[in-house]
Amino acid sequence: MTEKIYDIIVVGAGHAGIEAALASARMGCSTLMLTLNLDHIGQMSCNPAIGGIGKGHLVKEIDALGGEMAKAIDETGIQFRMLNTKKGPAVRASRAQADKALYRQRMKRVLENTENLTLRQASVERLIVDGSVVSALETQIGEVFRGRKVILTTGTFLRGLIHVGDKNYSAGRAGDFAAQGLSASLIELGFKIGRLKTGTCPRLDARTIDFERLQVQHGDDPPAPFSFATEKIAQKQVPCHITYTNHKTHEAIRASLHRSPIYSGIIHSRGPRYCPSIEDKIVRFADKERHQIFLEPEGLDTVEIYPNGLSTSLPLDAQIAMVHSIEGLERAEIMRPGYAIEYDYAEPTQLYPSLETKAIKNLYHAGQINGTTGYEEAAAQGLMAGLNAALSLRGEEPLIFKRDEAYIGVLIDDLVTKGTDGEPYRMFTSRAEYRLLLREDNADLRLTEIGHKIGAVGEKAYARLERKRDGVAALLRLLEQTAVSPDEASGKIEALCTAPIRSGTTLAQLLKRPEIGFAELRQFAPSLKDTPLDIALQAEVEIKYAGYIDRQLEAVKRAKNFESMRLPEDLDYAAVTGLSREAREKLARIRPRSLGQASRIAGITPAAISLLSVYLHKRKQASAS
């Protein structure tokens, strides 16, 4: 037995594990990272891309809190696109194609160069627990690692089972072993373990694709980076291509549906509805004549192509027929078959908002083990688990973001309050009720100060935040105080197709007009031409959307009472008269921190909330007298 006791042991080296281990080590904790395969650190098991709507928001927040994902994609991204550019700033989101191999290598390099961090290849089989406190891990070959905190980031590896047609085999993902023993260990400790399903596309050989006939999709020029620290994207940029399925494709799929593991009943667990397999799509939306397929390169130095939209678990011959029916892919060769994978997850309502499990002290769960899907969702949880484990070792309060502070707050609150309801959880902007406040562009303004305070964010990032904050304040002052006279505006204002001004008008008032953005404003005040873009954007958003933002802030304030009304950890729900048995059981299981959180539990009625508030009130009175 090794005598060394690590502060924090992270099991898994995927997107959650990386952020957890880095956060932990950077907070000064001696950290051990265990992975099944040291060559596959930071592997993108599914599509070669980071970000997207709602997900880009998470990546920016991870960056604002000192995480690694944004920097890694900035360095290894080969096509960057800002999504929703025609919509308001709150729902604009970054997305980038990654060179998968470069991404992996870069992540491994960073981990290997981080102080306090040890990497080991090992397959963890068992948690060793003293009473209800985790103390060590035992591997497949009997090695024992001792640690004060353990963070499980097992991805799809827990009893992973891959399906292609009616064939199936045990694997964590194609090419990797599954973790067989750990689920049993968790079940033994009393965890409720469920099963989820997800899937991926076949990979195609670019040399056999007729790109000439397909629509090209280029990235933005210049590409906008994810990280607040990145000034410029240096990586070579490449295009994607777009093609479509057709009725021949749909016929081929229908003809083999009876051999699909899902439709033939081999797989019972549910996959995500927002990431359906192609066979799901043609069954559920039978009247749709075609489906879009994005052909995404997996890297610069490989011919492998990811046909985004063709996720499937049909037998290989059907996959081939399906691919060959598609324009441009008539001769395409499959390099790796698509497949579905089933894996174990632990219902996340078994966690505190710190991501520590309720049943076992010092044990944290992050990523797909919590029933989420997506690299970004995983990374966000990994980061929070790492930070909270480190804070706990210092004897400090955990970092828990409220729903009006961060998408991370929405994500974790949803997970620990509502659970997954049997479907992998993915972030959407519509999950955030205070969406206008939680923008990509202000992630640093929202979170970096907090990250700095706990030591997760370095001095350089903090100085950058202060510069931005001061810059925005100064610019807002300037815009409020600088007036333009009708004479100065004449000619320019007409050219912008906006109403003429009759008296002196401030730049801020002009900026409120829909026809005038910050770029146009520069015509009226030449001194604005040197204003950095990020500062200009902040000022523009704050002025243009002031009315809406104020309304959201008011809504936050209204909810605050509710959110700040704490429910004691030891509250005996059986003593609250009038609660239904169902409500009592749910509240006792989830143990919400506040009345606000309680109100978000599925099946908790407004009446139950009234009862709880009456009860809290009486209890307070009783203890006061």
Binding site: G52, K87, H291, F428, Q552, G578
Partner: protein, 458 residues
Amino acid sequence: MYREDTIAAVATPPGEGGVAIVRLSGPDAERIAKEIFFRAGGKNGALRSHTLHRGSLKDPRNGARVDECLAVLMRRPKSYTGEDVIEFHCHGGQLVTRRVLELALARGARQAEPGEFTKRAFLNGRIDLAQAEAVLDLTQARTETGMRLALEQMHGGLSQWVATLREELLDILAEVEAAIDFSEEEIDHLPQQNLLAKVDALKNRIAGILASYEWGRLHREGARVCIAGRPNVGKSSLLNALLGAERVIVTPVPGTTRDVIEESVKLGGLPVALWDTAGIRDTDNPIERAGIDFTRRHLDAADAALVVLDASEPHAREDEALMRAVRGKKGLLVLNKNDLPERVDRSWLAEVAPDKAIVSISAKSGAGLDALKAALRDLLLAAPTEPQIILTNVRHKAALERSAEALTAAAAGIEQGISPELVGIELLHAKEGLEEIVGAVNNESILEHIFTKFCIGK
């Protein structure tokens, strides 16, 4: 540790009746029942729930029999309040019920606050907020229609209707949200024009229901009608004629009625409070002045005015002042004394009060009174037939008004082409308004709508 206490009250309306019910609700209800209720035939043991038991109520301190009665125990949660409830069906009459209630109070129950049983039913999740409010309306309803409205609402009429609207709103929200979260997907978005039409249609339906509030309010609270006119045109005679009895002093001395006199009549089921007021005229008499100010205030507060004129005389200067005072107010022009030759100038009336219909009557003979009653009822109830759903509660009205306003803002936003997440905010506000009526449901359901509607996922 805090526990809900046990409350008791007479559940039937006060007054003489054959049977009266005393109800207890709370954790001690069954214990108290055991102490004061003795079953016929001396049978002991626990009372079976939801079964009528015959027996007598006795004061355990001295064994004195208070009443013979039927008792029914309803153990929680299957009771009105969701708590243990015991009801004693005793003989009617205030003396008996008061003694039964006192017995219960002496054994540890607390006199219930008005509406407290219903409040507990709500707090225990037995009924939703709209239903709870309907019960309170029911206990306060003044008319049969008012009572029926409350009953319908209690059985979920309004809740169901709001739930339907909410579903439709969720559908619209799904359209808007899908365009934001799945803008990269190739999904068939609803054209802006159709989206606008959907929002408008929803808004109009809410507006229609909002209009029914007035109908409901008038039936529940009764309408207030102010009889106004210069002195001695026959206002008090008209009131008497409408009431069918001599209640108001009628003298030929102008200015006799100084106070406002309120009397109630029913017009085809609609309760109407009639206010007979001091005549409006120029006067230096301070007491009479005060009466006239009072009149103006009542005019403002009334749902409608009956403007009485003396048909046998040309209009006077006070009539002109009166016409100004009732401008814009819902009302009828009542030409009294039609048994005398008509000398009032109708063309002048049409000019100064074009919005008001003229009804010619004789308060003395009763001629034209039926026509007046019919005209007044039609005037008060804008909708001639009863709307399908009727709003009766001011909180519901305020919530629906907020929804309607938010939908108006959403429609304006769509027309101006503002970004969909801003339209989404307005739609969410509209949804919150609806959810205030039946209680909130979480955000997840928008996504559910999106997933069933659109083929999502590359």
